[in-house]
Amino acid sequence: MSATGIGAAVRRKEDHRFVTGMGHYTDDINRPGQAYAYFIRSPHAHATIKSIDAKAASTMAGVLAVLTGAELAADKIGNLICGWMIHSKDGSPMKMAPHPALASGKACYVGDPVAVVIAQTLAQARDAAEKVKIDYGVLPAVSDPAAAQKRDAPRIHDVAPHNTIYQWHLGDAKAVEAAFKAAKHVTKLDLVNNRLVPNAMEPRAAIGEYDTGSGAFTLWNTTQNPHVARLVIAAFVGMAPEHKLRVIAPDVGGGFGSKIFIYPEEVVALWAAKRVGRPVKWVSERSEAFIADAHGRDHVTHAEMAFDADGKIIGLRAKTIANLGAYMSTFSSSVPTYLYATLLSGQYAIPQIYCEVDAVYTNTVPVDAYRGAGRPEATFVVERLVEIGARELGKDPADLRHKNFIRSFPHQTPVIMTYDTGDYDASLKKAMELADYKGFAKRKRESARHGKLRGIGLSTYIEACGIAPSQAVGSLGAGVGLWESAEVRVNPTGSVEVLTGSHAHGQGHETTFAQLVSDRLGIPIENISVVHGDTDKVQFGMGTYGSRSAAVGMSALAKALDKIEAKAKKVASHMLEAAEADIEFKDGKFSVAGTDKSAAWGDVTLNAYIAHKFSGQELEPGLKEGAFYDPTNFTFPAGCHICEVEVDPQTGNTEIVAWTAVDDFGVLINPMIVEGQVHGGIVQGVGQALYERAVYDKDGQLVTGSFMDYCMPRADHLPVLKVETTLTKCPSNPLGIKGCGEAGAIAAPAAVINAITDAIGTEAIAMPATPAAVWTALQTSGRSMPHAA
């Protein structure tokens, strides 16, 4: 392994600009003559828009325009879409309500953009916004997903009776019924997977610009997938033909899924730019983000696990109501279906699984993928059932898992996924050793002596990542393929530019992708640059989410590098006057087998472009190759996280005293970056388990509307995290990579809640397990005093 190749903890190339404040985030960019947009958003969860009077506002200082849904429709701007078709059990398609970028006729959630003010300065836009008079006809609202389907619930969209978007299922209901009939023991669980606000530290932003002379638009946007944004805004929203729209995602400050989707604001920024003849910039405020960015999770689930007399799991069934909010966001339909139910086998050989999912509209912010997207929800169901099952059966939770692990691969689950490879025993064993699982009883007694309740919780998770094989997802309703692209441009002087369809918003691709190139071509990492995020520079790519950039993006790069190597060898063979088959390439040097004739990388690359040593008819000049890589399967990272907590029964406060993570991500490109991804994911998962919840009142008002009321994890909430890995190589891509970005967020919530329920001796606790919630659970269960083991 070289110092800058695969497996090396190379320090990041992109860091220099970030630690010196020289990054270029979207709000750092200013276009000549730019004007500013301020959105007027509905203060009501559900209301008709009777009239909008912008007369006074329009005449205020600096105001260029006040625009509404009426102007949008008159200009024939199309609606936003959900790009994944899901069918109900009865075969009917999902009920996708029209979603214009500015509300038309009625507002459906607090935050629904109703109008926009464009002015010379942001202050002028905000001042004018206050003078826009909107007459609303307030309607009853529903925010709870279970209540949304009731007969007396207000109907939000004409297309969806009972606010039901689809009623989907997966698995063999009859076979599962039979399994449960034969069961010796059934564990039941009712749970809520709490609604979260992603809150990347950089708020969303968009700058739209229109060049009248060429009829071309440019959009600077905080997007995780500029080409997808371009395709949707061109082909579906109809803003411009695709080749007349350039989308640039500069430095982006975190995404976690929330910046995948195509939102109203970028559509409006482009449209307004053309109307007012000036670039238009919009930057979200944080409390605006709370009501404008897609939220995550929000499932209500009843789940059951059937065991035989030996503690083997013989069946699992679940019924979930998934709240998708007021409109269907870009990938919303897929998250509680094909990204959720397909992981309900967990790491276990469960022969029969059946899952029903009802997706509903409510008068809340639209819900879509957020780190883990469906897999944290699945893991929470499975890992809570297994842990509770173990307690009910009087078995050690680690032993019960061990008894049920899948050990033979490939393993076809009853829920579509075929796991390719894994060693769940290895990660469980290593995690238990590192966490000193055996010594827990002693630590528990010690804690009790200090008046504290100590608990330990496991989470043996699995995820489907490296999203995804195009035909497979196409057959499941995806409107897009999920391959990835890479182009390698070798310059005459030997430096290399990688143009990748992947996008980095914290993942360090400028370093990791360069490591792969350095490893393969044997050239210094300083001579490699990685370009992403600009649709004018980079050919179509699907972007970054679903832990796919290494597994899919780098596989595309590997294929392109194969082609580069092949072509370079051809050039070298001409230079060295040898047969192509005799050319060997190692550590940046081309040599003729069995001789001491060689040519350095830089000489070969120069020759490729000077083209003196070969005939242009035989061999094209230049050294540039591209590749599109379509995965043959999902990848299946998996592992074991162990959380140890101390609960103070007097205050209900939970302190996480230890965290052990052992993950199998296949081959690692940069272990330092992988560890960082696990850290971040764990803390987001802990956030869900202990601190975070987007709360709506019965009128659909978002009560947790800013960082004042929505508790974000802070540095003093966590101990030092022990993070290690095991390795089974992924067999389905050339690099053996499984991916790691979401693992922590997927594993963590179950580990935390398993630990807390172990500590307090009752299962009746919901996320977030705040001090108030834990204290109440203790009081209610009557177990307010610590008991010695």
Binding site: R11, R12, E14, D15, H16, R17, F18, V19, T20, G21, M22, G23, H24, Y25, D27, D28, N30, A123, P198, N199, A200, M201, E202, P203, D251, V252, G253, G254, F256, V283, E285, R286, S287, H505, G506, Q507, G508, M672, I673, E675, G676, H679, G680, G681, I682, V683, Q684, S706, F707, M708, M712, P713, R714, A715, D716, L718, V720, L721, G744
Partner: protein, 165 residues
Amino acid sequence: MAAVSLTVNGKSVTADVDPRTLLVQLLREHLRLTGTHVGCDTSQCGACVVLVNGKAVKSCTVLALQLEGADVLSIEGLAPADGPLHPMQEAFRENHGLQCGYCTPGMILTAVDMVRRKGHELDDHTIREELEGNLCRCTGYHNIVKAIAAGARAMGSGAAKRAAE
């Protein structure tokens, strides 16, 4: 509009501003120093931290007009443009204390202020407590804490060397 004169990163600056202008807006919009970031609107996140007269201040929570005569240091002023990185910046890079980089300028300046107040030997507990006013969504804080401990020590060894000369 009202005038304010102050020093920013060692340079004298005079600006005519709308009285509502926040210090962060003065830096980002008037002076085009975009390294200081806005991450929230309730003074919680710390992405906007700069040093005012040597002390960490959230520039989103102070009006530009309050800075008359003040000495402001933003992230751009921490190290010379083409020179070596400040030891705290170097420590963040060395310890992978950043991912998307958005909270990083605020974290680094908070850390520099932390060292001024708490010294060069900062333990885990102290650093984590002192970061209560800084949010990060990417790193889980783990490597930020490592970076600050390392940066604090590096800042100390530099000073000790200079004192000895």
